[in-house]
């Protein structure tokens, strides 16, 4: 009986033993651009001169800085997209004010979890509709909800 128990314990140890080669193995990291970067629309809008200038600046920022820097904005839409959307939705002055407010909130690394719901890829969902000062457009979503904004 003792022999059997001993054999059983030894066998189970072998079965459940940690395989170090798995733990310390090489991590497969992909340097390919993520899908949300690929979705970026880098075209120019020549219909409106103001929008053309703004879009050109944002395209340059995305191409030369943001895409190289990586996926660092905690929000969805990202701050640059938020700026573009807010200017398109309202006007240059209001859109700029909305952007400065968004940028301040982006700097706050403490309370995001308590305030914003998330999208499936983990970013905090913060659409422009909350900040246009139109009460009817505010659709409150509690932070516990995962939003599918596709």
């Amino acid at each position: 009986m003792k022999l059997f128990l001993c054999f059983f314990i030894l066998l189970s140890t072998i079965i459940f033993a940690q395989t170090d080669w798995q733990k310390w193995g090489k991590a497969n990291y992909s340097y390919a651009l993520k899908d949300n970067f690929k979705k970026r629309e880098l075209s120019f809008d020549a219909k409106n001169p103001g929008r053309f200038v703004l879009k050109s600046l944002l395209d340059s920022y995305w191409f030369f800085i943001s895409d190289v820097d990586g996926d660092n904005c905690a929000f969805s839409p990202t701050c640059s997209n938020f700026f573009l959307q807010s200017v398109s939705k309202t006007n240059l002055v209001q859109g700029t004010l909305m952007f400065f407010d968004r940028f301040t909130r982006d700097m706050d690394f403490i309370a995001k979890i308590d305030f914003y719901p998330r999208v499936p890829d983990g970013h905090f969902y913060d659409p422009i509709s909350l900040y246009t000062l139109n009460k009817n457009e505010i659709n409150y979503i509690p932070p516990s909800v995962v939003v599918n904004n596709e």
Partner: protein
Amino acid sequence: MKKTIFLILCYSSILIAQSVDKQKEVNLFSPSNIKKFADYLFCSHDYLRAALEYQRYLSTNHNDTVSYKIAIANSKIGNYSKAAKLFTSIDHKSHFFSDAQLEYYKALFQDEDYFELRNDIINADSSNQFLHSPRAKKLFYFSYLFTNDSLPSENQFLSPFDGTDFQRVKDFYNWKEAPPYKSSLVAGILAAIIPGLGKFYVKEYSDGVFAFLATAALGYLSYTDFKAGHDIRGWVFGGVAAGFYAGNIYGSIAAAQIYNVKIQFDFVNSLKIFLNAQDFFIPEIKFCR
């Protein structure tokens, strides 16, 4: 050896063979079996399929309990308007008539048709004991908490409530009468006086701190650059500081609006939780053990 295996196989097929007795064959689609199956589905909370099976049963039989259960099943799966119609179709001679009357109002309430609910109760014949019961009155008054219509007086509103419900409903009434909203104007003015204070007012404390730090740091940089004679840098930092300052005023106004929507959302949520816990003041008949 081969013989033994062959024998075992033969013997086991005889043992496990299905015995078909034509005389005892069960008709699974007989009305009583359909009802049994529907009851099983109903008690397993599979209300959609239960309603369909009950409907099939009703095509050959008349049964008040089944009609009532179809209405309940529709109410359970969120078909409130259909449930309301089915409850009204319950015959006044039926044993379930009084319950169906109350369930009808519950369905109207769940369908958020508060106007119809109140209209029916107000216009009801004074002899109609169901519509003047405390349960119907509770639903009637509670519906005011979900709309923007002017509230009845506190005494009138609280009259049907008693016991443990009373204090809770009184709190809801007080909230509705004077909701703890934040003023967008005050938030904007506070943010203009001290950057970040508007966010503090709407309880977004860390946002307020970061707004203050960003504005103060950039303002200080601008000041020192002007002082040192670096005018261009001074203007750049000053411009960005002004952007953060104005953006914070704007953001505080927006945050006050969002705060108000949030607390309204929380209020409605807590009303719904309370109502569900109270079963809409109309306890269900227990059909399942």
